[in-house]
Amino acid sequence: MNIRQQKKSKEFFDLSIDLYCILNQAHHLLFVNKAFYELLGYSEETVLNRSLIGYVQLADREKFSEGLSTLAPGDGVVEFESRLISANGTDRHFRWRINIPEGSEELYATARDITDQKRHSSIIEQTHRIAKVGGWEYNFITHELFWTDETYRLHDTTPEEFTPDVSRAIDLYAPESVPVITEALRAAQEEGKDWDLELQLITLKGRKIWVRAVGQVERVNGQSIKVFGSFQDITERKILDEEREDFIAALEQKNDELERFTYTVSHDLKSPLVTIKSYAGLLKEDLKNQAYDEVEIDLNSIASACDTLNALLRDLLELSRVGRVINPGEWMSLRDLVEVTSLSLQGRIRETGATISVAGETGQIFGDRARLLEVFQNLIDNAMKYRSDLPPHVEISSVQNEDNITICIADNGKGIAPDFHGKIFDLFEQLHSSDEGTGIGLAIVKRVVEHHGGKIWVESVGYNQGSRFYIQLPLVDRNNTVTSTG
């Protein structure tokens, strides 16, 4: 080329937005067009006669040299991608096309700047990965199914490991979701209907996940050609939804409980008030009529209603303390707990001639000692109060497994008809009207047991058949406390 020709060619090359360069065999730059300076920010003087390899991003240099090494004169074009470092230190992506023309010793190279394109697809890929959204497309004519990388990832697999087809893909849904997606696919093909479904899927690693599958149908001349859409992991949201629903249900239950509580409390407090006020009126009348036999009954009624009120208030206060006042948990032996309880119930034991025994090996239990004592006091006292004609006998035994201990408090008393087994733990429910109690005792017991993460239930065949109260308590988390098996 003469100078004029060269000058003309240079003006022509400078128009291009792609890089044009000519390298010698040592890969030094002999010629570069204007795009080279514009895209990378170097000046002409600094670039010429320097090695192009020096401008290649370090991580790509090996790949770049490898690409160049395969070149031979007249042997066609080599294509690859690599990054160059610009003057301000940032990387730009280029797609290279390089050859050595027949009979030449120089390398002719062009490079297209694909930085924006790369960034764009990498952002899409990243956001899809973060949002756990995959894409897919199914062709009704060729039956080809295409998945994006994220769709593979959502199925816990890779394009190398798994080749999806439509029946294999459907098989990956959970049994209850298979008919739903099958019908959606049929409606898409036959009626051109789109879908937006929340389904359960079992991944290739056996994980059960929730996905939102959206499908849009493309139709030509009334015929469904293909369906494509997104595929999103919504397991976290589903779990949160479920947690929220459980939470709302628990709150509603608490609210109902509170409403019932307020109602029963107001009713049960009113009853002794009616007695007091009415009997005060009656008393006045009886004094006027000098009916002194009646006066004593009136006064006793008033006094006993006051005692009832007092007991109600005391027990209600106690009930509200359970869960509000929490003493630190401790290990204690069941035998010890029963002995302390028996001491506190000396009066009733003497009065009824009751015997209390602990059968076999008894385990250790963990919890709030004062509250658990209350549980045993209530249950053992009840066993003596609701006695049959036999002298009361209460036997405490326990069985234990790895996770919990089940304590049985069995008596030979009146027993409880099966109809009332659920009811007796409710607030103010009393089975016996001659009762000195308030109907709060077993409600307290249940509450204490539940606060310890346990369960309580009763078994009794019926009248005069005795009762067996069972308390199951967890043997607390081994991470927090040492489980004792003593």
């Binding site: 109602y263 009713h267 049960d268 009113k270 009853s271 008030l273 009616v274 007695t275 006020k277 009415s278 009997y279 005060a280 009126g281 009656l282 009348e285 009954i297 009624s301 006993s304 209603a305 008809a417 109809d419 009332f420 103010f428 429910e429 009393q430 089975l431 016996h432 009207s433 001659s434 009762d435």
Partner: protein
Amino acid sequence: MQGHPITILLAEDNAAHARLVMRSFRDHAVENQVIQVDNGESALDYLFQRGEYSEIDTQPDLVLLDLRLPKYDGLQVLAEIKKDKALNSIPVVILTTSDAESDINMAYEHHANSYLVKPIDFVEFSKMLKDLGFYWLVWNKSK
């Protein structure tokens, strides 16, 4: 006002309240035979003539029923009475301390004939039962 005495079944677990009812009837010379039971199960046993009441062969003319009763509560007793062909014509009057709307509605839904809230004052209590006694006497006479 005259009438022949009627038999009243009083289901009331609070002994003091039961005595108030008896006193009121006595003070107003309302002559009745009052049978008192202290829990819902006994009330049903009496009405259905079973258990310890299996010897009974008459039905009460009126049932005075507290809502909060041991074992079966007043509503359960009421429901059993009203769904039994032989018993459902016996008037049932709820006599309770509760003035909660829900209780009143539930009682009428279960076909209670009347709902009386126990007044806190004896004079009122007495007057209420006097009226009740006379009302049912007349009702009984006109039968």
